[in-house]
Symmetry: C2
Subunit: 329 residues, 2 copies
DNA sequence: GGTCGCTCTGTAAACGATTACAAGAACGAT
DNA sequence: ATCGTTCTTGTAATCGTTTACAGAGCGACC
């Protein structure tokens, strides 16, 4: 009833299990042996049990990418990049969603230990000591796509949000805008915090005062609409808005339209992430490219390198941003 | 150096491995035993090896969802729905990308056998005999979110594309449009074929002639733009377009704008899938809701039920569409 | 007090693969 | 003919769990 095991194949072929295993793993064997085993395998439709295999050899040839929200198109970009690198290296990529809570992430990292995958790329929204501890204790390599303290001693690849903010502000200023508002995501998240600080610094560098700032409850379209409405009600005097990601920007865009404000004529709008959505929305959104594809690629490479050599000193890579100018500014 | 095993815990606690296992699995044991084991586990930071565990118990408590393209927002909806159901049942969900080729799907299904997961939901773009065969031979349950022949005898959940097309056409007709064009995806895919047929039938039912039809090379935004351009160049005489999915519709929307045509005044536009993108784009897109969330949910339920009882007769569920009317019509 | 029954714990056999080791075969050289 | 080398194959140990089975302890009942 149940699927054949290697023992069944051995019996059918009239050889030992060791020989079957050898043939299957391309170890030296005679023509005839190969032939007999191949035939028995084909006949029985034998497929090796990867659990047993990985128990013995200690590797699963699976890598995991954990992201908070698959609905965020920036993760799609990252995912594609990671997938490309790891599959070229002979691994299978599996993606899991963690949700916005840090406890889920900790549970994931803990559970990852021993068995599910040979490594993990995680892009956490919020970072706390528990998470860092669980990463350090994890016995499979973990690389963080995001910002964790250097003293944590883990491989990281992160974006340069402040520089990205500077690019956005500079661009708006060059377009003649001076009254710049800020639509942030939750400030208690890693990107939220970084972007708030980056925004403040960038304005200061241009000797500008922030006109208004609101915080959305999430980095989502729906939260962007709600927060966008707040922005419009509270502080109507801006001529440009920078949003902490593209989803928020697009949410705001809808509220601007509802309020009868034209983009970019009345309000110029800059998003962040330069995700597919920036291209797809209308008008196409000027967006700060924080290098999500490159971050994904580098993170994957870091992971593979660490799997290769667990003793190498941790690297911290910072990917530089660029600006994709489109019609919204 | 390496992580502690159950034997190390047993040694540290001064008990047998069986007792440790029992405590960990909540089988009856004395207060004191539980206490000693718990302590040793905490001390050593022991985490059971899930490979060994699943080798023994024959289950991994992982389920896989395989989709062609994570960039397509319709899969995001489906993913969320599947995730909700399976995690409520105590499984972890992993997502893998197959790419557009059927050979990748076959390889995935074959490889899934024995070990990686306890079940699979697959949403194939293209179906051939090899794929069906691999599904039938797979020794973990597979449910297909899509259309496969009934004689294949596999659990399926599919959308009712023809009915969806009928809704779209009906709606456009009620809005006074008669010159309806069709922007399809690749016709050699399962949804492409179904939608082409549905479109033809729906027009016939209203005694209308198709004004124009083009095929995009993919169900993507970029392909939608290219095909949208063809549509505009070749056949300018339409007052409405139905697109085979939202990404194509949005791609076309950009080309319409570039050509100076207003949506919905000059051209009414209907998408399909009612994904998040339909809400996010501008103007918001009227879209046929093919029930992706419900399909995901039902597919996950089917999978769980079959894991429970492998002998039940295969079900074929058809989810009915509805229309989400927005400003594009 | 002896026997029964019950509960708890330990020993050891799985699960299905890989692989170290040893034994046997083949073959050429002396 | 004997020996040594090389190549192939088989036997059995192993990976880290779970769990069937048996033994030990102990209170209760006749």
């Amino acid at each position: 009833m149940s699927r054949p095991t290697i023992a069944a194949v051995a019996r059918a072929a009239g050889v030992s299990v060791a020989s079957v295993s050898r043939v299957l793993n391309d170890l030296p064997a005679t023509e005839e042996m190969v032939e007999r085993v191949r035939q028995a395998v084909a006949e029985l439709g034998y497929v090796p049990d990867s659990r047993a295999r990985s128990l013995k050899v200690g590797r699963t040839f699976q890598l995991t990418l954990a992201v908070a929200d698959v609905g965020n198109p920036v993760y799609v970009t990252m995912m594609r990049a990671v997938e490309e690198v790891v599959s070229a290296a002979g691994y299978r990529l599996v993606v899991t969603m963690t949700g916005p809570d840090v406890v889920d992430e900790v549970a994931l990292v803990r559970g990852m230990a021993r068995g599910y995958a040979d490594g993990l790329v995680i892009s956490p929204l919020r970072v706390d000591d528990d998470l860092i501890k669980s990463i350090q204790e994890c016995d499979v390599p973990v690389v963080v796509a995001g910002n964790v303290p250097a003293r944590a001693g883990v491989d990281t690849v992160r974006a340069n949000s402040p520089k990205g903010m500077a690019l956005a502000v500079e661009h708006l200023v060059s377009r003649g805008r001076r009254r710049i508002a800020f639509l942030n995501g939750p400030a208690d998240t890693v990107p939220g915090e970084a972007r708030a600080k980056g925004f403040a610094d960038a304005l200061r560098a241009h000797k500008l005062q922030p006109v208004a700032a609101v915080e959305a409850t999430d980095f989502t379209f729906a939260a962007g609409r709600v927060a966008g409405r707040q922005l419009l009600e509270g502080h109507p005097g801006f001529d440009a808005v920078i949003a902490a990601n593209d989803l928020l920007a697009v949410g705001l865009m809808h509220e601007l339209a509802a309020a009868g404000l034209a983009v970019p004529d009345d309000v110029a709008l800059v998003g962040m992430d330069d995700s597919e959505l920036a291209e797809q929305c209308f008008p196409p959104l000027t967006s700060v490219n924080l290098g999500s594809a490159e971050r994904g690629r580098r993170a994957a490479e870091l992971l593979l390198a660490r799997i290769e050599d667990g003793e190498r000193s941790p690297r911290r890579i910072i990917v530089q941003p660029s600006l994709s100018v489109r019609r919204s500014t």
